[in-house]
Symmetry: C2
Subunit: 474 residues, 2 copies
């Protein structure tokens, strides 16, 4: 139903639009009037016809019109003054809805994805996850769905305390665990809590993840790069920095892949003890060790000075946003305070689901399967490169979801390689991309690529390897 | 199997503990040795027996012992020096695991819970939620489980854009929506983004939620209280503050319950336009309006100056940690930037599930049922109080999950009432608790209680009302 109501010039009131959206007659009329005011077709100050007049004009019951006027007046669109009737409220014309902001949505998926940091998303165990969710929600107490402990659900903290001791040699208990929505949040919360205690600078490995460096910088903290060599980060250099926190990846340095050797672990812990500093152990892929029994967590050397951080982003999927911190006793409350300020607590349903998945053994089974698959992929990568790109040195392959390829200088600069890869629809990282701002690249360092062999779906893996070999051969 | 190995004094190596936890022989040995070092039973510098000697002593294959030594050396527990054999690494004795930090876990549930802010958690639609999760996970693309848009899943932003327009008259589109883990996170992200643009002070209603005030203060922003009267917040006073952001609850002021009248809405929007300031519309319970058609969102008056905030905490459950912001075009990227820094993005599985629940009509059905139930409870509260506490004035009851009780001065102070309530196992809030720090209580204001009639499970509601009446009669 459309109508040309005559007030202050012809006005097109389209009630059908609202009706089509399932609105009742009065709601549709309100909608049409709002639209007219927004578009400026009903200018501020315009006097509306009496409800009787408009009722006649539209063929609608008069009290429907009157109710619509009352409603729009309550919302501030119209004003009803004694005597002067109903007029459009003083308000400028509305700007048009803005165009979608650019650069937020991730770009189109590349033809071949060998970027590090993500597992094969096609392997997310949807069925096992749903089954665990069903079991978890069937037994969860009502209070699980309310406001609760900022550290997260006890069910998950209890399950994780056992898992971490068993699988990673972490020394903790449920009271010291805090569930966060991803490692980056945990890093930010720790930085915020320590900043309250006077922290001003954070030591990080000279190669790492720029997004994590941004989280630290956003808390107003300075970054102090730590050199890396064949034994891992030069932790003895910590004493020469003003850092009060050192973020390390001891099990499998990201991205170079070297494990932190015993002497370097000891030096880090001793530094923390002597200076009252803290270590953050980012154990992002500690579950995936191939050549021998996994090296236990550094945290066990001193649970009061080392914060252990684990995540489900590599073992299950990043989209779950599930990670955890095992905290020194004196940091539990400061970090929980910031978690409460940040978002109160993490979501209950996935916490309950992951707890059930761990308790039922499903998590271990998935990790074991993933380990075998990843090891096969790693071996295949090494084999194919040996055949088709013999002058490429593959390093950092004893664990994890990625490898570093050292190329001969003749291969060109990393930027050139990246450009050629893009042109071939092949997504990967360069070693240079991982260099922390302020660190100086090693002179004469050969060009390096960081290859995430965990990311592609199984059916696309060989094609991705082939694309990589063609890039290296070109 | 336990053994008394003779090195540097008798040492009790309990392998059974590890075996009982399902560890292999070597892992159990490693575990026993780690424990011995931790407990200080194996002091730093202690020289361990040769693998042959310990093998004989324990009756374990020698290479198992050797592998365990290698492993523990790699982890930094032992050091193997040429000639001097294997010794316990220099490291002080371990502190005992700390006691659980107090004050983090929410206390025991009260016998009668009439605290505002929570829906009846026993009504969380577990079956509908699981069914929606199953449908959502069956059809979700693989990339849904990866790293994505900091604004959240498009499925949910699309579903919400339609729902908000339909149910709350919000003018937005999926590009302008950002999914956050609860309203408090959204508030914090907005504060951080505006602070980058020079914001220093935030106007809040003089009565509100102290935890939200804490979120604003934690961002280094000053709080400016806005007076309340029968028409809602005195938004004309905004011009006399240095605030660049005003946080309002227009549909149903928390806790007083007065809606923000049309003239006050207009004054707020005009202030924002003239000063370039912003309004945050906290529409925490806008779905629950009883006496007439819900007043539409203030945001529609100017989507470029009003940030609309909605949440699933009242309509479904707080434990889901699902809320959303409808942002002005120029704030989408600044707020999304801070969301990325905070936790990258919200969890994918509940976002997909809520989107499916909305698209399937299940969300609307649940909200409608809740509205009827809440209305019945509200009417019952009013009726019972009229019978048993006639001198109590009930206000703010046209919407929401709570009411304000104005008591005669003879009822005693709010603190006295709170004490008597606690003694009776009855949890509720006082009006004074909600007063923002720095605001001066109105002289001669009668004592007031804030009663959340939405919280108790159905079977416990009458008993809670009875406890309340006994408190008011005493």
């Amino acid at each position: 139903m459309t109508s040309w109501a005559n007030f202050g010039g012809d006005l097109h009131l389209d009630l059908d639009a609202g009706r089509a959206r399932g609105l009742g007659l009065r709601a549709a009329l309100e909608d049409a009037l709002r639209t007219a005011v927004r578009d400026g077709r009903l200018a501020a100050g315009t006097r509306l016809p009496s409800s009787r007049a408009l009722a006649l004009d539209l063929g609608i019951a008069r009290n429907t019109i009157a109710e619509a006027y009352t409603q729009l007046a309550a919302e501030g669109w119209l004003t009803s003054r004694q005597g002067s009737g109903t007029v459009v409220a003083e308000r400028g014309p509305q700007p048009a809805p803005a165009a979608p902001p650019p650069g937020l949505r991730p770009g189109p998926a590349p033809r071949h994805d060998l970027r590090p940091g993500s597992p094969d998303l096609s392997r997310f165990p949807r069925t096992a996850w749903l089954a665990a969710a069903r079991r978890a929600l069937a037994t969860a107490p009502h209070e699980a769905f309310g406001y609760g402990d900022p550290r997260g659900r006890t069910e998950l903290r209890r399950a994780l305390a056992g898992y971490l001791a068993r699988a990673r040699g972490v020394r903790t208990d449920p009271e010291r665990l805090l569930i966060c929505t991803g490692y980056a949040q945990g890093l930010g919360l720790l930085c915020a809590a320590l900043r309250d205690q006077g922290l001003t600078a954070v030591a990080v490995e000279e190669y790492g993840l720029p997004p994590h460096h941004a989280v630290i910088a956003a808390r107003g903290l300075a970054l102090r790069p730590l050199r890396l060599d064949a034994d891992g980060a030069l932790t003895p250099d910590l004493a020469r920095t003003d850092a009060g926190l050192a973020v390390l990846t001891p099990a499998h340095q990201f991205p170079t892949g070297v494990p932190l050797r015993a002497a370097r672990r000891a030096a880090a812990v001793d530094w923390a003890r002597q200076t009252g500093g803290y270590l953050l152990e980012d154990d992002y892929d500690g579950e995936f060790r191939y050549d021998r029994h996994a090296v236990g967590a550094m945290q066990a050397l001193d649970p009061e000075r080392v914060v252990y951080a684990g995540t489900a982003s590599k073992s299950l999927a990043p989209g779950l946003r599930l990670a955890w911190l095992a905290l020194p006793a004196e940091l539990v409350e400061p970090v929980a305070r910031h978690k409460r300020l940040a978002d109160g607590q993490s979501g209950a349903t996935e916490q309950l689901t992951l707890a059930e998945l761990i308790d039922s053994g499903g998590y271990d089974r998935h990790v074991r399967r993933s380990r075998h698959l990843l090891r096969r992929r790693r071996d295949r990568l090494v084999q194919v490169l040996a055949e088709r790109a013999p002058d490429v040195r593959v390093t950092g392959i004893r664990a994890g979801l990625h490898a570093v390829l050292e190329l001969p200088a003749t291969a060109g600069t990393e930027e050139e390689l990246l450009g050629r890869a893009r042109a071939a629809g092949l997504a990967l990282n360069t070693l240079g991309w991982s260099l922390v701002a302020g660190a100086t690249p090693r002179p004469g360092r050969p060009p390096g690529l960081v290859i995430g062999y965990g990311a592609p779906p199984e059916h696309a893996f060989e094609a991705a390897l082939d694309a990589l070999c063609r890039l290296l051969a070109s």
